[in-house]
Symmetry: C2
Amino acid sequence: MFELRELQKLASQVYFRSGKTIFSERELADAVFGLSQGVVRLYKLLPDGRRQVLAFALPGDFLGMPFAERHNFSADAIGEVALCRFSRADLAEFIQSSPNIMRLIIEFAIRELDKAQDQLLLLGNGSAEEKVAIFLVNWRNRLGRLSVFSETVPLPMRRQDIADFLGLKLETVSRTLAKLEQKNVIRIVPKGVFLTGLEQTLLVTGRSYQPQM
Amino acid sequence: MFELRELQKLASQVYFRSGKTIFSERELADAVFGLSQGVVRLYKLLPDGRRQVLAFALPGDFLGMPFAERHNFSADAIGEVALCRFSRADLAEFIQSSPNIMRLIIEFAIRELDKAQDQLLLLGNGSAEEKVAIFLVNWRNRLGRLSVFSETVPLPMRRQDIADFLGLKLETVSRTLAKLEQKNVIRIVPKGVFLTGLEQTLLVTGRSYQPQM
DNA sequence: GCAACTGGTTGACTCAGGTCAAGTCGCATC
DNA sequence: GATGCGACTTGACCTGAGTCAACCAGTTGC
């Protein structure tokens, strides 16, 4: 699409080292970002320190919403990260000029909403095993779509991140992975897993939370 | 806003009796609705019958997203319901003509996304008591904003609906309400509750999941 | 009035997942 | 190659919420 080319011109590249915060919840959203390299964790915090990871962003994903006054979640880098930064002012001007872009943004927001709702379904109804299994399959599929298609699926995030994403404790994530390995549907390797027949398990158990993240 | 008046002309009023389904997940979204009277439950189902209630819609809320091909959740009436029905074709045409409306839709979608993310935070990290307490306070606040401001807060939905909304079982909801009554922060009355010092409880316990639903 | 239902409550018991506390493994750094 | 550290695993135990079942209160229909 023509407009997207134009949009590129507005971007400036920025880089973040592992663990650095890109932006924080409630902060004024003076820019939004397109992720070009690496993985980003999006999350909300409670005053007492409890955390909910909302999503893991991959290259191609957007961080932050145009038209949102303030960020409503925090984002930080998992490993080294490269981003395209769009200043809010530039972006607003650009968007106003193009109904096509408007429409893309709406469709993007709808997709995000749908993903959040699928996640609600999973958090509200899933057992630990279902949660972990579905997380792994979805993650693999997303990486697959980016053709980061290695046999062994990398898991750059920490166990704690997965736990906070799934509403579990890190010990439970660890134990559940061990259980899945026992069942011979995965193999745990350093910094990743190797999936063998996990989706079959999901089908058999009768769940299908719409494999997409 | 001028455009909103115009929009009214496109609407046709429709009515649903208690329990009736307005639309179902995956169904072609040939129309979207504005809720004018009553309460609607929005939910997703799993093949094995488990259900996640995503939200309870109140008058003024929109059901269904313009630009979404298909509904990505189901909706049915809790009690008698009156809706403004907008056909997809009419609406699309109307929207294209007005960037103002586009912008409103984007902002609406962003708000919905934010609400869904707050709900993720609650489902992932809350105890049964927190979930129920926060649900009651949020519900009261929403009704308050509609100036349906009675001292006793009506709860037109069933315990099962609340349970499916909060990722609990109906017995747990029932017990938790009983416990809150014991603590003298609510009083249970037929088809509703009476809140007395519940928000204080929330502040004391240190949680503030952004009181809004 | 009484039967049949539906929605809600309550009790007794179970168990998945949380908690706490040792370990282990990998990997920097000196 | 010792040492320290952060990420992860594993075990023993505990508990909050789920399960199963009985019971109660309104409502509807005959």
